[in-house]
Structures are given as structure tokens and as C-alpha cells.
Homo-oligomer: 309 residues x 2
């Protein structure tokens, strides 16, 4: 099996209440790739400038991510984002967004990338997501992420992209913006009317919900002692989630999707413990498996019968 | 076994995006009592004015709540609260708080109420909570709730009350206000340094966490199609939680506390579906049990082994 991800590759500058970094490797496709690399061969498709150097490639290669489809734009600069997290880390303010080479990004997939069994369309222009999805005609499981910007200014194109995938991954405020529905399940079902058979609603520090046509499933965030930097947590979650489906041959049965929620949750919890990719870059499969088992333990209860009056 | 609750009995006026009520039965001790009544004999201790009539007593008696220790202040008026929930129902604005007879409330417990095996101190002045706790010397499990006001203006008295109970129930913003800790587990452990062996952190629409000295346990809110009115959800949760412990003879073992989290979650989910006490007043034990089983199902996953790379 193989897994292709298309999306942003970036340098991030981040300040949180616990410190900061002036320039660190980031971008949705990077965080996703590192997380998914525990499950399958991962090909990453995205643009970089000639400021993207050996050190950055080394992080990806350290997890055996296949970088052949990273498009290097000579004379260009890599996408740069800087932001500051507020005291409670529930919100962040963007200081600067320099799209640079990302502004004119038109994904070019090698035959190997097109042949992927599983595809993840990270948050890019919806029209490009649809274009890529069509190029990967044989993919058995395709998921996409998006953002408030596209819901606001490119809604029709986003609906077209959503209609062409199996699973949509958004956070709860995006679902509410998209549908006007405040309840997670009701909002997810409205989005699924466009075609997808599953939807993941990310709840930030509170975990995530999986919604299928007639069921839902809930996991809390894995509790950590300390959150250094939430940047990339959602993409790490997606990498673990989609990666787990890929490891099961693209099988999107309820049992696999639920397990995938647990793997996504576990990897995201490591991501936030340090800045950027720092923690996930040296993560081990054993550490991930331990947290999945632990997540199961801290959510399980015996439905002992109480005789109610 | 028997269970005593001390706290507010009120009339509430509420507006939510889905409607409103001008005057409905409410108050922490009322919501708690109705929820706990499914598990044990419940005695409610709290003050009312002579505007508290047969209709209000009928709601409590309809669930067999023992109202002998409701103190009726002749010529007094019952505590009145009015509030408006904002569009997303994540926050509410208080329009009016008339403490009325609640302002000078000094709990007087009958011998039967003092003999309770399990005691819940709903949100009242911390010094009164401690006073009541001392009167119920033989209680094997005592829990308390509080609020931001007491954390801000009566911290020492609140610490003294906390030191005298087995379990503290607060929401996550109160825990952060109390401890300065943003992470749920770290914050709860700081509060538990004052003595309690367990703490419940309510996460509103996202569920709740149980924190013990060396473990944690997490449940999502039970997903409902429609939230009419969140008023009393936290007290209904507490009633189901503490009630379940009472049904187990005050046993606060991990297995019982986890199950109690599930019962609290189930009853709270009914509470929010209609205004005030309307839904819980006609709830059945079978409906509660069904949601507990369903909650278990929508949070359980098989920890199938994925061979990670």
C-alpha cells in the first residue's frame, strides 16, 4: 500500500506561553507525513523554495518519507507563517502569512504518487484538491481537510471537493461555520449529505468525534502534562488517522476508523509536547502503541447494572 | 443508604436561542435531587419563600425527593436568577440575581439529613459547606461544587471546605482560575493536594474528566440532537454521579467512580434537551440505562495491533 499527501510545507515562527521558535519546519503536509510514516510508505507533494535545505529534508527522510514530489522552486521562498498563541492556547493570532511559492502551487504528481491507495488532501485551495483527487483515480480512501477561509470565499468549490472524497476532517468551529449547526453530529451529517461516508470533527484540546451515517464515536485528547506548542496537532492527528486506514488496506470499516481515531489522538498528543516537529521526529512506534493502549484504558468503563428507582 | 444535598432552590428565567421560560423551577439542589433520586432516598436542604408552591413541591415529590428539610421562610421570596445564553451557548450572561431568602440561608439539618451516608454540598458559601459537612460526621462519601465567586473572594474558606470532602466537582475554567493550571489533570491534582482523593472536572459540551491521585478517566458529553437549555446540566451530572456512588454504598472505588461518570453524563444529556427540570421530571430509569449502555458503545474501541514502522 502507499499513501500520498498534498499540502503545505512551511517554515513557522511560533510564540506560546511556554516559549517560541523563530523558524521551524512546519506545514500541514509535513506534520501529516511524519505521523503517517509509522503506517505506510508516504509520498509528500508540495512546493518549497531554495531556502529549504538539507536539514529539513533530513527530518522527513529520518522517518522515511518519500520526498521525490516535493517541488523545489528555484529563486522562490518557502511558505512562511508566524503566530502567537494566547495565554490559554485556545486561540492564536496570525502575525504574518507569506504564501511565497505556495501562492502559485499547482500540484504535479508523479505516477507513483498518482498510484496511491490512500490520499490525503491537506488544506489547500479546494479546486486544487478536486484536481488532485481526480488524478488519483484508483485511491480507495481519500480524506480532506479545509479551513474557514475556503468555507467563506470558495464554498462551491469546497462542496465539489467534498463530494469527491470519502472522509472530511474539520474542527468544530469550521463545521458550525459551514452548516450553521452547533451540535457536532447534526453538523457533520449536513456535510456528509454531499457524499462522504465519514467525517472527523476535531475538538482541539477536548478530543475528536467520528461521525458516520448512523453512528458516532468519541475520543478525548490524550492528557499530557504540558502543552508546549499546539501547532500541527490537527495535521498529526490526520496523519495517524489516515495512516491507520492505509495500514488496513484502505478499509474504512467502523472498527478501523475507531482505531484510527485512537492512533491520531496518540500521535497528536506527542506533537504538542514540544515545538513543531521536534517530538514526532524522534517518536517510536512503541511509544505510540503505549498511548493507544492507555487511551483505551482511560476511556473504558464497565457497564455494571444499577437498579434505578 | 440515604443521600442529603444542601444548596439552592430557585426560580429561573432563561432565554436560549431555542426559546425561553419566564419562571421555571431550578436551583442546584433541585436539579441534583431529581437526578440523584433514581439511585437512593434523597433529602434536599434549602430555603424557599412563600412563593414556592404546590406545583414546585409536586415536581420533587414526583421523583420521591424528601422535602422535609426545605426551609420555608414566611414573607420571603425564593432565590431568583435570570440569564441569557449566547448564540453558541458556550457562555451565558446573567441579567438578574435576587438572592432573597438564600442570602441569609443557614442550613438546618434534621437528624435524618445529618445521618446521610452520602452528602453533596452544592454551590453555596464555602463556610456553610464546611459547617454542614461537620454536621454529617458519619457520611462516607462527601462531594462539593463551587464557583468562580468563592474562588475569588473566599479562597481560604473554600480550601477549608475542600479539605473536608472526598471529591470536588468543578468546571475546567474554575480549575484554571483556582490553580493557574491550564491542563485538566495538573490542575485537578493541585486541588487534590488539599485532601480530596478524587476530582471531577466538567468540560461542558465536551464531557467530563475524573482525576484520581494516579489516574484519569474521560467521558464525552452524550451527543444529543438538540440542546434547548443547558441550565442545570452540571447539577444533573453531579446528581447522577453522586447518586451512583450512593447506590454503591458510598464506595468510591475507581470502577464505581467511572460508572458514576457515565450515569452523570447520561442524566445531564436529558436535562439539556428541554428547559429547566422539564425533561428529567418525567425521565425513566430505563431511558437512563439505555444511554449509559450507548455511551459505552460510542466510546469503546478494539485495540487491534498495528505493526508500526
Amino acid at each position: 500500500m502507499s499513501l500520498t499527501v498534498v499540502g503545505s510545507i512551511a517554515f513557522d515562527a511560533v510564540q506560546t506561553p511556554h516559549g517560541g521558535r523563530e523558524r521551524m519546519l512546519g506545514g500541514a503536509a509535513v506534520h501529516f507525513s511524519l505521523a503517517a510514516s509509522f503506517f505506510d510508505d508516504v509520498r509528500v507533494v508540495g512546493p518549497v523554495g531554495d531556502d529549504f535545505g538539507d536539514g529539513e529534508y533530513a527530518v522527513l527522510h529520518g522517518r522515511n518519507v518519500i520526498t521525490d514530489d516535493i517541488e523545489r522552486v528555484e529563486g522562490g521562498k518557502t511558505f512562511f507563517w508566524s503566530g502567537v498563541y494566547r495565554e490559554n492556547m485556545n486561540a492564536r493570532d496570525t502575525l504574518e502569512t507569506d504564501l511565497n511559492v505556495f501562492e502559485t502551487f499547482d500540484p504535479k504528481l508523479s505516477q507513483e504518487s498518482k498510484d496511491a491507495d490512500v490520499l490525503f488532501l491537506a488544506n489547500i485551495l479546494p479546486a486544487l484538491q478536486l484536481n488532485v483527487r481526480k488524478q488519483c483515480a484508483q485511491a480507495t480512501f481519500v480524506a480532506l481537510d479545509s479551513m474557514d477561509l475556503w468555507i467563506n470565499i470558495a464554498r462551491d468549490a469546497l462542496v465539489a471537493a467534498i463530494s469527491a472524497v470519502d472522509c472530511v476532517i474539520l474542527n468544530d468551529s469550521e463545521v458550525e461555520l459551514f452548516t450553521g449547526e452547533r451540535e457536532v453530529v447534526a453538523g457533520a451529517r449536513k456535510i456528509m449529505e454531499h457524499g462522504p461516508k465519514a467525517m472527523v470533527v476535531k475538538l482541539g484540546r477536548y478530543g475528536a468525534a467520528l461521525v458516520t451515517p448512523d453512528d458516532s464515536f468519541w475520543v478525548p485528547a490524550f492528557p499530557v502534562d504540558f502543552v508546549a506548542d499546539p501547532t500541527g496537532a490537527g495535521d498529526s492527528f490526520a496523519g495517524g488517522f489516515v495512516g491507520c486506514v492505509a495500514a488496513h488496506g484502505g478499509d474504512a470499516s467502523p472498527a478501523v476508523l475507531k482505531l484510527a481515531m485512537a492512533y491520531g489522538t496518540a500521535i497528536a498528543s506527542f506533537n504538542v509536547e514540544e515545538f513543531g516537529t521536534e517530538r514526532v521526529a524522534r517518536l517510536t512506534g512503541e511509544e505510540i502503541s503505549d498511548r493507544v493502549r492507555e487511551l483505551r484504558r482511560i476511556t473504558a468503563f464497565e457497564a455494571d447494572v444499577v437498579a434505578l428507582r
